[in-house]
């Protein structure tokens, strides 16, 4: 027995450490991406080494990105590019933050504009050189003013928007025609009031025989926030997160959540779908309309349904659409090489001019001159929700908010039980406010 004890003890020691390795000391392992990037990064001024690009386009739009990159690779001034695709989500932003904190980040990365408040103030991004951009033909006049404004911090430009990608509705054109919810030009009549929206969805459900409006939200980290954010902005109320505490109009928020409960009543419109369930329901023609991001266009188009699209329905009066924007940023580098920086600016400019290809994914080009190109008007159904870009509502600017953030997840989780009929609208809004206050209470790690 005496012999047994120490050996047993040794084994436990190892087990404990295995735990540590998994939990806390993951920090060591997680540093690896940053370190590896560092190893692979070219020596300052190293010629012939490709521009390192990070992006998060792994779906259908990733292929279009490939196409655009292939185009700019060609020609006498072609770029040498080294692309890394990482999966969208919290981990992308963790990796990017770590790479930038380490100072050996890629030359150009894609960032959701809504995440910029968590990056620029902490010094994780380097600003763009406006003169250099102008030299390559890119100026502020090329972008919607609100978007350009949002890409600024302390008077400097930290992001160059490539697109806006709003949360919109797609619908089966045949059903919508039968339901009589289209105007003379074949466009969706915007309801303009909660009652009218309920009637629209009921008419769609009746014409279809299945569901009116499909929406997947169960266990999704963003969907509920997207739909709430759009509707709440339509009420005209402000959702601000100053450090003194959340400034939210709870009456307006309760009105929005109550309306969502009424809309997704489980009869006319199902309330228990998850993201892929809703997509599958629409592609299998079990519903007439789906509320989803425009990035699902390539998926939905492959179904053969005659597809119509419109900016997310206006219910509360003020036109507003929940949006984000894929933007190019220059992650912080310890010793940026001026030649590579120049090349990075040239690359961003060249990619913006490829925006028409990008629009094929469903995204709305941020680079406005593309909208005037003849090819753009022919893009269907993209051209029918172009105005959504002008009605853009991003997340409230806070270090913890934005695409793939804890904030969106917390908000979505707070709303979910209300839609499932397990909590009241008031309880959901209370929880949202509480979660916001909790997030604001945390020490700001990027300042």
């Amino acid at each position: 027995m005496t012999g047994a004890h120490p050996r047993r003890h040794d084994r436990f020691t190892v087990d404990r450490r295995r735990f540590l390795r998994l939990s806390l000391t993951a920090s060591g392992a997680a540093l690896a991406p940053g370190l590896l990037t560092g190893c692979g990064a070219p020596a300052p001024g190293g010629d012939g080494v490709g521009l390192k690009i990070w992006d998060l386009f792994s779906g259908g739009d990733g292929l279009l990105m490939d196409e655009m990159m292939d185009t700019v690779r060609g020609g006498p001034d072609g770029f040498t590019l080294d692309r890394t695709i990482l999966e969208w989500g919290p981990s992308y932003y963790t990796k990017l933050a770590m790479a930038a904190a380490g100072g050996r980040a890629p030359d150009v990365a894609v960032l959701h504009l809504s995440r910029m408040p968590g990056y620029a103030p902490g010094g994780l991004l380097d600003p763009f050189d406006l003169e250099l951009l102008a030299e390559f033909g890119i100026t502020r006049e090329d972008f919607p003013p609100a978007l350009w404004e949002r890409a600024q911090w302390e008077g400097r430009l930290y992001a160059v928007p490539l697109d806006t990608h709003p949360f919109i509705v797609f619908y089966d054109l045949d059903v919508a025609e039968r339901a009589g919810v289209l105007d003379g030009a074949g466009r969706l009549i915007q309801p303009g009031s909660p009652g009218a929206m309920l009637e629209t969805s009921a008419a769609l459900a009746e014409a279809h025989g299945g569901a009116g409006l499909l929406f997947g939200h169960v266990t999704d980290p963003a969907q509920n926030w997207r739909i709430f954010n759009a509707l709440y902005a339509q009420t005209g109320a402000a959702f601000d997160l100053p450090e003194s505490g959340p400034a939210i109009d709870t009456d307006a928020a309760v009105r929005v959540v109550s309306f969502l409960q009424e809309l997704f009543d489980g009869r006319t419109n199902p309330n228990h779908l998850d993201y892929f369930g809703a997509l599958a329901s629409f592609t299998e023609s079990r519903g007439a309309m789906i509320a989803v991001g425009e990035w699902e266009l390539p998926t939905l188009r492959s179904t053969g349904i005659r597809l119509g699209a419109a900016p997310f329905v206006n219910v509360f009066g003020e036109p507003a659409v929940a949006t984000d924007s894929h933007s190019y940023v220059l992650p912080r580098q310890e010793r940026p090489d001026p030649a590579r920086r120049r090349e990075a600016h040239r690359y961003v400019a060249a990619m913006l001019r490829q925006s028409l290809t990008w629009a094929g994914a469903g995204h709305l080009p941020a680079y406005q001159p593309v909208l005037a190109e003849p090819g753009y008007a022919e893009l269907d159904p993209q051209s029918s929700y172009t105005e959504a870009g002008d009605l853009a509502v991003l997340d409230p600017p806070a270090w913890f908010a934005g695409s793939g953030s804890l904030f969106q997840d917390r908000m979505s989780q707070a709303i979910q039980p209300a839609l499932l009929g397990r909590a009241s609208a008031e309880a959901a809004v209370d929880r949202m406010v509480r979660e916001c206050a909790d997030l604001l209470d945390q020490p700001n790690p990027v300042r």
Binding site: A4, R7, R17, F19, T94, D409, A414, Q416
Partner: protein
Amino acid sequence: MSTQASPETVAPRDGGDGGVPEPSPTAGRSGPRQRRSGGWFVLPFAVCFGLFMLWPVVHGIAMSFTDESLTLAGTSFVGFDNYVEAFGDAAVWNALGNTLFFTLITTVPLVLIALGMALLVHTGLAGQWLWRLAFFAPYLLPVAVVTLIWQWVYQPDLGLANQLLNALGFGPVGWLSDEAVAMWAIALLTVWWTVGFNFLLYLAALQSLPDTLYEAAALDGAGAWRRLWSITLPQLRRTTVLVGMLQVLASLKVFDQIYILTKGGPNDSTRPILEYIYDVGFTGYRLGYASAISYLFFALIIVVSIAQLRFFPRQEG
């Protein structure tokens, strides 16, 4: 055949019955030269161990006393602030409770079902290889595949689980969306996925039980139940201790399947402590605070380990 090999090597080492005391006399006899050459053999592992295990542990402790952030914000010493905050953080206790609850509701079935399956297969059902394969196969799947399969099983509208309930005349269950159900759904998936390993340990142990005991018992007129209660189960005690121990530790570190399936939702009802540490450290950038929570969890593991150390040897003796 390989199924027999592994437990034979595992069981005696774990049993600690004094059957393998040879190494110590050998070590005692070895001269200094021999010991020096041994050092070289150990060196590669020792370096890795030091770099990737010891150093992070030490560094983590140091980090837990700072407000270190994943970003560039300055790091300053904050004393026990992080620990004080963790003790007052309801989310920590909630997540810890979830982890313990998960451990409880997975360990018990994972031991009992594995034992039951092993006993059934061992009774000599026809086509033993098929049962063995069928029970063990899910264990070979990577976590991403398992969660993908179960995501569709639990899918609220089209999923197999709700379709079955529907066919039986029951209403749909919010497998992953109902706070009262979600953790059970994840436990069910986990049992399906990992029970095969415990099953294999039990089966191998069963196959190595000496026939002589059963022959003697049969001569004395013991029936099948008697033999199960008085021979098989007591003989399996060491394996049960091993399986239970491994299982508690495996369940305490649950993360992957929950993270992929529910991200800890709905309303944090499935968020385990490791996910909270991950959320705080890697999504919220607060490495210092995340480290402090890790060490609180570490303390809990030590308590569990000590409890096991005290409890199980006594039972064996």
